[in-house]
Amino acid sequence: MQLSSNEERMLKGEAGEAKQLSMEVLTKVGEAAGADRLVPIKSAHVLAHYSSLHEAGIEVLEKFANGGGKFAVPTTVDPASIDLVNWRLFGIQEEYARKQFRLCNAYARLGGILCWTCVQYQVCNFPKAGEDVAWAESNSVVFANSLMGCRTNKITSGLDIACAIAGLTPRFGMLLDENRQASVLFSLAPDALTDLDYRSVGFFIGKIAGSRVPALSGLPAGTTSDELKHLGSAAAASGPVTMIHYVGFTPGSGSLQAVSEGRKLETIEIDRKALDEVEGELNQTEERPDLVALGVPHLSPSELGELARLIRGRSLKRGIRMFAYTSSLGYEMASMSGIRSDLERAGALVSHTTDGEISPLKQMGFNVVLTNSAKMAELVSTEGEVELRYRPLRGILDEVME
C-alpha cells in the first residue's frame, strides 16, 4: 500500500503514540483488504456500548486517550448500554454503570460528539453526497451508502477509533465505484406493507444477498426514510449488506435501467410467503412478554409522535414494561411537545442514550421481549439469554395495552 510522507511519519510514531497505533491498524487492515492507499474522511462514527466492548474495549480506548489521541474529524458516538441519565430507573447495577461511564469518559477525552445515537444521520452527522466517511454501526452504514450518496465500509470496532484519530480510512470495498454496482435484484410484489414487513423484507435480503450488493424494486412510492432506516437495519443484521439500491430512492438508482446498466441481474421475488417465513424464524415463543422494546434503531421524533397517537388514552397492562428508545434530540423534542408525557401516561418510558439490543436485559430482569425490530430479534436471540417475540406494532399494542 502506498503511504504519503505524512502517513509514514505517523506510522513511525512522530505524531505520537495514538496516531502510530491508528496507522498500524489502518495499514494492516488496508493490506488485508487489498487497499491501494488511505483516503481522508469527512466524518466518523464510533461504537460505545460496554455490553459488547467489554473491559478490553475500555482499555483500548484508554490506551488511545493516554497516548495523546484526539479525533481528527467530527466523530459521533453510538449509544451506551445504559440510559446515562436515568439508569437507576431501569434497574442497572452500579458496578455495571461505572464501567459504562469509564468508557464514556474516554470518548470525552478523545473529543467525541457525545450524541449517543445509532441514527446519527437523523441527528447530528450530515456529510455531503459524494464524501468518504468511516462509520461503524451497520444500520447507519446502509443508510449512508444507500440514501445519502456517501461512501463508507462497515467499519469494525477498533478500526473506527483508528480512522477517527488518523482522519483516514483504507480505500477498498464500498469506497470503490466497481464494488457499489447492484448484482442481484429483489423484487417486491405489490402489497400493503406493515411496519413489520419493511423489517422482514430487509432481513430476507440480508440473508439471501450474501456479499452481493442488492437492489430492491417494488417499494411503495410513499415509503418514508424511517421505514428505509428499519429495512436497512434488518438487512445489516441478518447478513453483510452495506448498501441497497432502493430503485426510485437511492441517488443514481432512479430506475431499474439505471441500476442494472444493461446487465442481466438475477431476480429474486419477495412474496408474502417469504415474509411469513422471516416472521416465523424471528418469533421464538408465544409466551407473555415482560418487555416491549421499540426503537432499535432509534425512533425519530415523528415515529415517537405516531406511537403517542396510537397509545393515547390506553394503558399498559400490569407486569409489562414498554421502552421507546430514541436519540437525545428525540427525547428533548418529545419532552417539549408533550409527546413524552402522553407516552408516560400510557405506561411507556422514553429511554435515550442507549438502545434495546445493547442493554443488559437479563440484569434488568427481563425474560421475554416483544419487539417489531428484526435487528433486536436477531442480535438478542443469538445470545440465547432472553426469548424474543417479533410482531407488528399494532398487534403488539393490542396485546399489551388496555
Binding site: L21, E24, V25, K28, V29, A32, A33, L47, H49, S52, L53, H54, E55, A56, G57, E59, V60, K63, A136, E137, S138, K154, I155, T156, S157, G158, L159, D160, S211, A237, G239, P240, L379, V380, S381, T382, E383, G384
Partner: protein, 130 residues
Amino acid sequence: MVEGRADGEAVVSAKAFTFAHGVDPASGRVTDIHSDLRGADLKGKILFYPYGKGSTTASAWFLETVRLGNAPAGVVTGSPDLSVLIGSLLAKSVYSKSIPILCNLPGEPSTVKTGDRVAVDGSTGEVVVG
C-alpha cells in the same frame, strides 16, 4: 493476515461465524444458537469458518476473549474477516499476545475437519494438517 505460528486442534464451522453475542469471552465457548459449533470450546484451538457475520463489535468480543485467556490460538477464514484481524492486532498492542490470522484459499476449510491436529503460520498463510 496477522503473523505468528500456532498449532492445536481444529474446530471447523461450515456457517457464517461471529464472536459478537456468539462466543462467551468468560469461557471461550460458542453460544450462538445459529452456529453449528454451539457449545464448542475455542480456547487454544484453531478456529476455521468460511466468513464473518453480524455486528461490527465482533473485534471487541474477540479481544475480550483474548484478555480473559480464552481465545483460540489461531483463526483461519475463507474470506477476510476484518473483525478477527483487528482484534488480533489490538491483542498484540494492548496485551502482547500473538494470535495468527489466516485467510486461506477458497475450498480449503472443507479439507480440515473438527478434531484434526493442525499447525498454522500467519506469515506464509500455510495450514498443515497432522
